[in-house]
């Protein structure tokens, strides 16, 4: 008895609903971009500067009382959110207090933090502060810069690698899928306003890595089939490749999502945003490697006359490593 999520031989025509799926992807991307500009991202202190204080208390968190206690300190924008996690018992109530970067100082001064802590202790004597983090505007500016560089750099590096190992059309297809995944992930962060910090950038890069992995497996099969079936129309050939690898795609996404689900539920609130980003990215990435990357390759077409000796550009010289 074997568990078979995907039947043995599938002949799904992934292009039949191409207009709808591709249109949906484009729409989702546009929606994400609009959301990004309208709602903006809920940047953490990594990118904005400021201080985050994590509070823990035996009695329930009263956000309003906290706010009223801090208000007289005149610290500008203060965001207080209660943090939930299934592992917290009744006697563990956690909140996060975020204070904006103060004018003219790099990190928020010790006095400011001490004042906030004293004010909160006034509201709730059992309160403790398991973590206090301050980032100055100078560093946060640099962090934004290096984050953008990291994402762009990895996209370019992958584009280059795919271009070496496949035809350029595949590189463009893979890149489109990656951009799709990154944009949709930023979109969901704008939509539900989860804190967007440095860890999320790491998550974005992981998504890029995962999604490209998924896409490459389909492309690898397409590359093989291009050599095997020299006359098959590209559309059928891509469909065949996707069907042949479908079981693997679903299996790998399944095991990865399973592991991530465990982290999402049990991994604690500190990394929940990070894990959520990757979880979402794996879903979008699996979708995009089937519905976005291939569509782009089909649109661009692939040079098929591999055997013509006089065309040095046909195939690529780095593609032959499989026995």
């Amino acid at each position: 008895m074997r568990l078979r999520i995907v039947p043995q031989d599938t002949k799904i025509d992934f292009f039949r609903a191409a207009k709808i799926t591709f249109g949906a992807s484009v729409l989702a991307m546009i929606a994400s971009i609009v959301l990004f500009f309208v709602m903006g991202l809920n940047f953490g202190i990594d990118f904005q500067g400021g201080t985050t204080i994590r509070t823990e208390s035996e009695s329930t968190v009263d956000v309003r009382a906290y706010r009223e206690a801090i208000a007289p300190l005149d610290l500008g924008d203060v965001v207080i959110t209660e943090v939930f996690d299934p592992s917290f018992g009744d006697d563990k109530n956690v909140a996060s207090v975020r204070i904006q970067a103060q004018d003219g100082t790099e990190a928020v001064s010790a006095q400011t933090i001490a004042a906030v802590e004293t004010a909160l202790q006034g509201v709730d004597p059992t309160i403790t502060f398991p973590s206090v983090e301050s980032v100055g505007p100078k560093v946060s500016g640099e962090l934004i810069q290096s984050a953008i560089l990291a994402v762009l750099g990895s996209l370019v590096a992958i584009l280059f690698y795919i271009w070496l190992r496949f035809e350029w059309q595949f590189a463009v297809g893979a890149l489109a899928a990656l951009v799709h995944d990154v944009v949709l992930t930023i979109g969901i962060f704008a939509a539900i306003q989860i804190k967007f910090d440095l860890a999320i950038i790491a998550a974005l890069l992981t998504i890029v890595g995962y999604s490209i992995n998924d896409t490459v497996v389909v492309f690898d099969r397409a590359r093989e089939n291009l050599r095997k079936f020299k006359t098959m129309p590209l559309r059928d050939l891509l469909n065949l490749s996707a069907n042949e690898t479908l079981s693997r795609t679903v299996m790998t996404s399944g095991t990865t999502l399973l592991a991530l689900l465990a982290l999402l539920v049990l991994g604690g609130d500190v990394i929940r945003g990070f894990v959520f980003a990757i979880f979402w990215g794996v879903i979008v990435g699996t979708y995009s490697s089937i519905y976005v990357a291939k569509n782009i390759v089909l649109m661009l077409g692939v040079k098929r006359d591999w055997d013509k000796k006089d065309d040095p550009k046909a195939g690529t010289q780095f593609a032959n490593i499989d026995a």
Binding site: R2, V132, A150
Partner: protein
């Protein structure tokens, strides 16, 4: 290695069982897992330029004064602290003055700055402007950072904290990570205190903080007398850098004090000054505050002395430590501070561990349900993979962080991918190939290019993450990258070995994957 809740004694007993010849490095835990303080400080290198110019002034003054007949009177003008502005009364002799000042330049003592002089001198009308040259600035910056790094390290070591990380980061920054401290504030108190000790001649004593101090003088408050200010000559006779030792002690009246001793240069300067100025007051200044201003009773040779003041025993001990560690060459500005409590880290470890176990179990069940015996092989490889990851982590001395644990859990999910690729391929080949042995061979052969391409691209992103990320994110990049390498290794070599061994022994006519 990430076990908590055991007492030290138990752990030591356990450690005793470990043979000595075996490698004994454990996985380092990041600050987010074990709690502690993380600080990023920027060294204010410009302060050193100003100090250099300050020290250069007497030299310029003396050189120009020697040629008074040509250049006339020399006065110092206020200007940007990183430059020295000197006005000469015979404006038409600026060129001559320029030559004299240029003659004071010395070659830069560094490899990159070879051939360049340490100062740039230019004339602006009747003013001669001296600044540090570009090459000298680079050399000075480097020296300043190294010195600051060394002093920060010594100060933190003095307090006896275990395994702090103190690293230079970028051009002018220092990263300080101290595990096990209660707050970043404590660390700042230890290193942030400048303990800049100087001995300066006293011009006069006053109660008016705004009184004009006169050229080349400064006005500083007294440490323990409220409302008392001293006007001091700005150039110190001796400074803290010349100290070789400082120890807490008691003065003749039994009050806490600090004994100090100068190096030979400091001792000579101090001896000469005290010999020439018997009867005049002399200020001991610590961090811009006058600790005391005793009158010089006699010539003090030998270069040792005592600082008295209203200290408690604790304060005098602390002061001695700070003096011994030396003064920071320049101030530090803290750009980033993070404090993570140990309980939060312990909670994170617990949560991460639970998630890893549940995740791995889920993946194992899924794999065995899907591939039967081959799923079991994949599970063995997965276990092997986990052991490898931790082994390599400890050998490399890499740091395990919270996102790093997430990276491991993610690896659990992704690690089976190479196996899945191979198994799916074997399934396909079984339909066409002659016999199961051939199908297994072909499965491995044909899946290789997909495994390679897929994992190289993921490795690229892990590498980029490692290069640009810092702290926890870098920890994630390490475990993710390692996980990719070990999972490809175990999938290709370990499972294949298991399958071949099994196949050779059983020689089944048909296989089910």
């Amino acid at each position: 290695m990430i076990e908590t809740g055991q007492t030290d004694a138990e752990l030591q007993a356990d450690a005793g069982l470990w043979p000595e010849w075996m490698p004994s490095g454990l996985v380092n835990l990041g600050l987010d897992l074990r709690g502690g303080a993380h600080l990023l400080a920027e060294v204010q290198v410009e302060e050193v330029y100003a100090a250099r110019m300050e020290a250069f002034w007497p030299e310029v003054r003396d050189a120009l004064a020697a040629q008074r007949d040509t250049v006339g009177f020399v006065t110092r003008e206020e200007g940007d602290p990183s430059e020295l502005r000197v006005r000469i009364s015979n404006a038409d002799q600026a060129a001559a003055a320029l030559e004299i000042v240029r003659g004071l330049a010395t070659p830069v003592a560094s490899i990159t700055g070879a051939g360049a002089n340490d100062i740039d001198v230019r004339a602006e009308g009747a003013e001669i402007v001296v600044t540090l040259s570009e090459a000298e600035r680079v050399a000075t910056d480097d020296r300043t950072i190294r010195q600051a790094l060394e002093i920060v390290r010594r100060r933190i070591d003095e307090v006896g904290t275990r395994e702090p990380t103190i690293q230079r980061q970028g051009e002018d920054r220092i990263l300080i990570e101290v595990p096990g401290v209660g707050s970043a504030e404590e660390v700042k108190e230890i290193i942030g205190t400048t303990a800049q000790l100087t001995f300066q001649p006293v011009v006069s004593r006053t109660s008016d903080a705004n009184e004009s101090a006169g050229p080349n003088n400064e006005i500083l408050p007294s440490l323990d007398e409220q409302g008392v200010f001293y006007i001091l000559e700005r150039n110190p006779v001796v400074s803290g850098e010349e100290l070789v030792d400082a120890q807490p002690a008691f003065d003749q009246n039994g009050r806490p004090a600090v004994n100090f001793r100068f190096n030979p240069t400091g001792a000579r300067a101090f001896g000469d000054y005290t010999a020439e100025n018997i009867g005049s007051p002399f200020a001991i200044v610590l961090d811009e505050e006058v600790i005391s201003a005793p009158v010089i009773q006699s010539h003090i040779p030998g270069g040792s002395g005592i600082i008295t003041g209203n200290f408690t025993v604790e304060e005098s001990t602390q002061l001695a430590v700070l003096l011994r560690a030396g003064a920071l060459p320049a101030g530090l500005e803290f750009l980033e501070e993070r404090t993570i409590g140990p309980e939060l880290g312990a909670d994170s470890i617990e949560a991460g561990k639970l998630a890893a176990i549940v995740g791995a179990l889920g993946v194992v069940v899924f794999m065995v349900a899907s591939y039967g015996l081959f799923g079991v092989f994949a599970t063995v490889a997965l276990t092997f993979n986990m052991i490898l990851i931790f082994a390599v982590l400890s050998i490399l001395g890499a740091t395990l962080t919270l996102p790093g644990i997430a990276g491991i859990v993610l690896t659990v999910g992704m690690a089976v991918d190479a196996n899945v690729l191979v198994y799916e391929r074997i399934r396909e080949e079984l339909k066409t190939a002659r016999g199961p042995a051939r199908a297994i061979d072909l499965g491995y052969e044909k899946a290789l290019s997909a495994i390679l391409d897929g994992n190289v691209t993921t490795l690229i992103t892990a590498l980029i993450l490692f290069l640009v990320g810092s702290g926890p994110v870098r920890g994630f990049a390490i475990t993710l990258g390692l996980g990719i390498l070990t999972s490809v290794f175990t999938a290709i070599f370990v499972t294949r070995l298991l399958i071949v061994m099994w196949f050779e022994r059983r020689r089944p006519k048909t296989i089910e994957v």
